[in-house]
């Protein structure tokens, strides 16, 4: 199937996509609360960041971004620690980038995920985290709370490093594993 570029960047939207984003956001929220180890107030080594990669592979980058962004809101609602819309938007950007991996031919659902895709994915994650947590979040934090920038930067860097680490260290093996689980077997024959 030939998708237009805008379709690729926005993802294909139908009821399945909406449900996929919702399930992604729910998983993201749950994993943010239970699936990780806290580092600082706003950052933790959490497995939640693999979700945008999967939603991205299934539905495209915009759904991936939304799953992460809304997932962050869900996490805030579950955890009760107040809202951090600046971080939600940062997550949106990071998630969007992680979801772009589908553009380069990766398709976890059909079992396509190669070393090349892993490298691209890693680069996208780093760019996404840098842009999301290094630019968008600090900018918004500064705009809204006029917090001291240095602190925001420290947190941003902690977030970039920890989230990118999880995205890569847990995300890549997970994506490989999921792709392998979904791969259609060919030429299977029984052995003795």
């Amino acid at each position: 199937m030939n998708k237009t570029l805008s379709q690729k960047l926005l993802g294909t939207w139908n009821t399945k996509t909406i449900v996929g984003v919702a399930i992604g956001a729910a998983l993201f929220g749950v994993l943010m609360n239970y699936g990780g180890i806290k580092v600082t107030t706003n950052t933790s080594l959490t497995s939640a960041y693999v979700i945008p990669a999967i939603v991205g592979a299934l539905f495209g980058p915009l759904p991936a971004g939304l799953a992460a962004g809304l997932g962050n809101v869900v996490a805030d609602l579950l955890g009760g620690w107040g809202f951090w819309f600046d971080w939600s938007l940062g997550n949106f950007v990071a998630g969007y980038f992680a979801g772009l991996v589908g553009l380069f031919g990766a398709n976890v659902e059909e079992g396509v995920f190669t070393v090349k895709h892993a490298v691209i994915y890693a680069i996208l994650c780093i760019i996404g985290c840098a842009l999301g947590f290094g630019v968008v979040t600090p900018f918004l934090t500064y705009m809204w709370y006029s917090s001291e920038l240095t602190i925001t930067w420290i947190q941003a860097w902690a977030a970039i490093v920890s989230d990118a680490t999880v995205l890569i260290v847990v995300g890549i093996p997970l994506l490989f594993a999921l792709a392998k689980r979904n791969a259609r077997g060919t030429n299977l024959s029984k052995e003795d």
């Binding site: 956001a25 998983l27 809304l70 009760g80």
Partner: protein, 284 residues
């Protein structure tokens, strides 16, 4: 398992609980916007008091709330401490003065202005936190969806939010089941018995089936929605968005007041270009 989370799925019956999602979302957003827009303690303090009253009025679980409030205060104090380490004389920038109260070294000084700034900042954060905490504990996900819809967020986005909450209990139950089955196969999740790295690696073993079973549902859910006409029209109505109660009507002037307050704050800021962000009683 429901009571582990802060958001509740079953509506309570206090004054705030009974309001419509529309009113809750509006008041919440306005208070948050005002709090982010101002550094003026004369605005922050009343809102802080209001938020304390609101929080108490919804009769929340005391233990759970006290624990998280203490946690958030400590985190904020820690942040302030970090700020002080980096810029002990931050008050000069924000408040516009440097009255030294105490001196460790020439660099590490404690000034009245910095302390004032820290106080305002702490109160400001605490107020937004308490407002959020009240909001979270008094709104059900369906009211949230309906409330967001009432401020013109597309209903498909609202649907994502309510669907996410609908399936969270299912996901946590799957998570527990999967964990149990992996434990009986010998997975050690006790932090005393295995290192962070092994635990991270082992999490993959739980995550794979969790993700697969979670996304397995998507097709079924989407079919169920299609079959019942989801997306048929440009908009949708909400079963849970009840008619305005007396409380909602009473609060309309309050909402208008908040809007005016916000406008006033913005105008004030634009007209009297205050040289410093944070107002302090002893600085003109």
């Amino acid at each position: 398992m429901d009571n582990k989370f802060f958001i509740t799925l079953v509506p309570g019956n206090t004054f705030i609980d009974k309001l419509t999602g529309k009113t809750k979302v509006r008041i919440f957003l306005l208070l948050i916007i005002i709090l982010t827009a101002t550094w003026d303690i004369r605005v922050i303090l009343p809102i802080l008091l209001l938020s304390i009253i609101m929080l108490i009025s919804i009769k929340p679980d005391v233990k759970k709330n006290v624990a998280i409030i203490i946690f958030v205060i400590l985190m904020n104090l820690f942040n302030l401490f970090l700020t002080w380490i980096i810029k002990p004389d931050y008050g000069l920038e924000m408040v516009g003065g440097s009255t030294v109260l105490f001196k460790f070294t020439d660099f590490y000084i404690v000034t009245a202005e910095t302390m004032w700034y820290f106080l305002v900042r702490l109160l400001k954060f605490l107020a937004s936190f308490l407002v959020s905490l009240t909001f979270i504990q008094s709104i059900t996900p369906s009211e949230l969806a309906a409330g967001l819809h009432s401020i013109k967020i597309p209903y498909k986005i609202c649907m994502i939010v309510s669907l996410a909450f609908r399936y969270i209990p299912d996901i946590t139950r799957d998570f527990t089941n999967i964990k149990i089955s992996m434990q009986t196969r010998g997975l050690e999740l006790d932090s005393r018995k295995s290192s962070i790295l092994t635990r991270l690696k082992q999490y993959v073993l739980i995550l794979i089936p969790l993700i697969i079973t979670s996304f397995d549902r998507v097709g079924n859910i989407a079919n169920a929605m299609d079959l019942r006409g989801f997306g048929k029209n440009k908009d949708k109505t909400y079963y849970c968005e009840h008619e305005d109660t007396k409380g909602d009507k009473m609060l309309v002037p309050f909402i208008i007041f908040l809007i005016l307050l916000y406008i006033a704050l913005v105008v004030y800021k634009a007209v009297y270009k205050a040289p410093f962000e944070v107002w302090a009683p002893w600085i003109q």
